[in-house]
């Protein structure tokens, strides 16, 4: 079972245990350090806990059998999430480098893994910060009463409401028209929306000011961005539980449907959610843990952060669904009242004759006696389940469903500000990890002069990402974002995660890894870690990767558009992608994944042709050359 691939020269590329002790004692080396353990934990928690905990997990939980979803989620958390997290923490802490540095140290042929991480972090960062720009736009608009998404604007001659708004809803109109000004197809680019560009500028400059000096500045920022969401969630929980209908929502969320456990899609979604939720394979976690002291207990950290992440998901699901339950109840009551009014007006019954309790009997009775009139009224179908399951994931949850719920609460601007500040903090702390995953590999690769200060690297990354991210400020920007989300942030990560596991366990060597962990934390990793690292986690990852790939490839590529002419309006219409999209999809998903084998092949040929150069490179790369000895040391 102790399979180990040949890996010559490993000892020359990595610091030995003795070197590490020396570095620790003398505090030599110019690597930045955490001010205290709390900063490190808060940064990691902030990176892991992101928007997905708020708007992806609750939806998955409810759609895959409610309380029963906890079972696959917890099982996969323990078998997949915690081992991978521990692995990334341990290897970063041991090799004391960012993602490219770590994989290059293990074996120069594996540099591609680091480069793939960097590319994925870059692509994901681009579109994630656009979501931040949207959140900022809503936040800026929350400082007014009444909220702009609670009213429809009047049409040109002031006789009625704008048609698009009247047919859909005020929140839909504000999101699709006034925020995105969305076009009807992805090829219809439209122009740049100046207010979106301004919001993007705000998002990137705010990110820059927090990341400008690396963990020196982000370490201070996380005291707020990682703790504030919990405070706001608690406030919303208290507010939500006192609203009418909250219990309905929570019941809907947690009612278990054990049959869902037989559905393989449930397990696949649970596995994917655990993987993405932990922000693994981005390279950021490896970087963060490389700033730790050498004897930091990374095992404890991994377990702690996993528990926090899992609990946050469940906690935020409760909060979200209590508010959703409130909104659904309000809509249901409105629907019933409208129907009752229609019936009362038609039959001239006195008010109070028909109430919500006897509505159904009365209508049933009237249907037998005055069938035509009842049919002519066009009574709406009021179904509580429909209202509860409307648009409850992704941007639809935050910008449509939740904003609508907020308009129905008293003191709406306050709740709107709190909600969007919470979303902003959740997203910003995740962006810290993304930027770390781009800037540090960039520095390690040596593509740009090393003498440039960190501020310039950070600024350059932010500027380039902003420039390319302007595509999301076009009228079709929303569709591009969905494309990026589906393809750049899914398959490549699974591939990288799998390669990371194989590299550490079979190329670096599980024996060496065990000894390293024993050196760092004092005891050898127990049988649980051995079993999961060697067999269970890689198998789970392979399964998820294959199933994910198969489902993506087999389903026809369509996307949802907001089209007034479509028959199902205001429901989004499903439209097929134009054919040139496949090129884009290949760039997004294929290039990061393929960079792993391509770089390995490139390095292989480079070695074969230029053998002498390689040896001299190796000697310069050793640790003793890198450690700066103090000036006062006399030989």
């Amino acid at each position: 079972m102790k399979l180990k691939l040949p890996n010559p020269g490993l000892d020359n590329r990595i610091p030995s245990h003795g070197d590490l002790e020396k570095m620790e004692k003398e505090e030599a080396g110019d690597r930045p350090k955490w001010d205290n353990k709390a900063q490190y934990l808060l940064t990691c928690v902030g990176f892991c806990v992101g928007l997905g905990n708020v708007w992806r997990f609750p939806y998955l939980c409810q759609s895959h059998g409610g309380g029963a979803f906890m079972i696959p989620f917890l099982i996969l958390l323990v078998l997949e999430g915690i081992p991978l997290l521990h692995l990334e923490f341990a290897i970063g802490q041991r090799l004391r480098k960012g993602s490219v540095g770590v994989w290059r140290s293990i074996n120069p042929h594996l540099t591609g893994v680091g480069i793939a991480s960097m590319l994925v972090s870059f692509l994901v960062g681009m579109y994630y910060n656009t979501i931040m720009a949207w959140i900022m736009w809503y936040l800026f608009n929350s400082f007014q009463d009444p909220l702009p998404w609670s009213q429809c604007p009047l049409n040109a001659n002031k006789t009625g409401l704008v048609e698009e708004c009247a047919r859909s809803s005020t929140v839909d109109y504000f999101w699709y028209r006034e925020t995105l000004n969305t076009s009807t197809a992805i090829d219809d680019a439209g122009g740049l929306q100046w207010w979106m560009v301004l919001s993007l500028v705000a998002a990137w400059t705010l990110l820059y000011v927090c990341c400008i000096r690396g963990i020196e500045t982000t370490g201070k920022a996380v005291y707020i961005t990682s703790t504030l969401p919990y405070v706001v969630l608690t406030i919303f929980l208290i507010r939500g539980l006192t609203l009418k209908g909250a219990a309905e929502g929570i019941k809907f969320l947690f009612t278990p449907d054990v049959n869902e456990l037989m559905n393989p899609a449930t397990w696949l979604d649970a596995g994917a959610q655990v993987f993405y939720s932990f922000s693994l394979a981005f390279g950021g976690l490896i970087s963060f843990s490389s700033y730790n002291s050498i004897h930091n207990n990374c095992e404890q950290d991994a377990v702690l952060i996993s528990i926090i992440n899992g609990c946050t998901s469940v906690y935020s699901a409760t909060v979200i669904y209590s508010i959703i339950g409130f909104r659904a109840t309000e809509k249901f009551d409105d629907c019933i009242s409208n129907n009752i009014l229609k019936v009362m007006n038609a039959f001239n019954y006195p008010e109070g004759n028909i109430t919500a309790d006897n509505y159904y009997e009365t209508v049933a009775h009237l249907n037998t006696t005055n069938y035509d009139i009842i049919q002519g009224l066009g009574l709406a179908e009021c179904n509580m389940q429909t209202f509860l399951s409307q648009g409850v994931e992704g941007t639809g949850l935050a910008f449509i469903v939740f904003t609508e719920a907020i308009t129905k609460m008293p003191f709406s601007p306050l709740w709107a500000v709190l909600f969007f500040v919470m979303l902003f903090c959740l997203g910003l702390s995740t962006m810290f990890g993304n930027i770390e995953g781009v800037v540090v590999p960039l520095q390690d690769l040596g593509v740009l002069p090393r003498s440039w200060p960190k501020e310039v690297f950070c600024g350059l990354s932010c500027l380039v990402s902003f420039g390319l991210g302007l595509i999301f400020a076009l009228r079709s920007g929303n569709y591009w974002l969905a494309l990026f989300d589906n393809f750049a942030g899914s398959i490549p990560l699974l591939v990288i995660g799998f390669c990371e596991m194989i590299s550490v366990i079979y190329i670096y060597g599980i024996d060496r890894f065990n000894k390293d962990i024993e050196f760092m934390i004092g005891h050898k990793p127990n049988i649980f870690w051995q079993a999961t690292w060697r067999v269970i986690s890689p198998l789970i990852m392979i399964f998820i990767l294959i199933f994910y790939f198969v489902t993506q490839v087999s389903k026809s590529l369509t996307y949802l558009v907001w089209d007034q002419e479509a028959p199902g309006f205001p429901t989004l219409a499903e439209t097929p992608f134009p054919s040139w999209i496949y090129v884009i999809i290949f760039i997004l998903a294929g290039i990061p994944s393929l960079s792993i084998p391509l770089f390995a092949i490139f390095k292989f040929f480079q070695r074969k042709c230029c053998k002498q150069k390689d040896y001299s490179d190796n000697t310069v790369d050793t640790i003793s050359a890198k450690i700066q000895m103090h000036d006062n040391m006399k030989y």
Partner: protein, 217 residues
């Protein structure tokens, strides 16, 4: 004589009632939803309330057509239902068999809608004139959108932060360079004093280690 007056009144009533019919071309249907609007404090709809309605409408007509003095008797109501809905028509004060046109009635109601609503503690939604659309309140449109103001504030703070941090790192770097320069200067002066002690002269080359200095002596 008395019979004649009574007959005349009955006739006029009949004629008047004849003018007010559901779906009359110059009439409007009114619907009140008192319990929905006021819930616990809802009042009963009775003759007195109807009288108030007719009086308010006469007031609205007077406000609109200033030359004619409309009376309560000019507002004729019919077809009352338990829903609290009814039809009304407005007759001209000069001749009770002539109805005031639909457009004039609509205009009058629109002008004084607010007053009519407040007389009954109701709103446009709960006191409905079927066919007369309520004038929609235009949403408040400030000159500078409030979001630009917040954006400006945030960008100002962020910009100040960036400049502060960049300037402080440049200053820090300068200070570090100065410190290392100072250290080098210190060593040079040390060497110079030693040099002065002996006969040595010339520019001292810092690239050599201290060991050489000692061995020279």
């Amino acid at each position: 004589m008395l019979e004649k007056i009574i007959l005349l009144l009955c006739c006029s009533c009949a004629v008047a009632q004849h003018l007010c019919t559901p779906d009359a071309s110059d009439g409007y249907k009114v619907r009140l939803s008192i319990k929905t609007a006021l819930e616990g404090q809802a009042y009963e709809w009775n003759e007195n309330e109807m009288f108030l309605f007719r009086a308010t409408l006469a007031f609205a007509m007077r406000n609109h057509i200033r030359e004619q003095k409309f009376e309560v008797s000019n507002i004729i109501v019919c077809n009352e239902t338990p829903r609290v809905s009814f039809w009304f028509v407005v007759t001209s004060p000069e001749s009770t068999s002539v109805l005031i046109g639909k457009e004039d009635v609509e205009e009058a109601v629109r002008k004084s809608r607010n007053r009519i609503n407040s007389a009954f503690l109701l709103t446009d939604k709960t006191l409905e004139f079927i066919g007369i659309l309520p004038t929609l309140a235009a949403p408040v449109d400030p000159d500078t959108p409030p979001w630009l103001i917040v954006f400006g504030v945030v960008m100002g703070i962020v910009g100040a932060g960036i400049i502060l941090l960049l300037v402080s790192s440049v200053v820090q770097k300068k200070r570090k360079n100065e410190m290392t320069d100072d250290e080098e200067n210190c060593e040079e002066t040390r060497v110079k004093t030693v040099e002065n002690g002996s006969v040595g002269e010339g520019v001292y080359n810092m690239s050599f280690s201290d060991d050489e200095r000692f061995t020279q002596m």
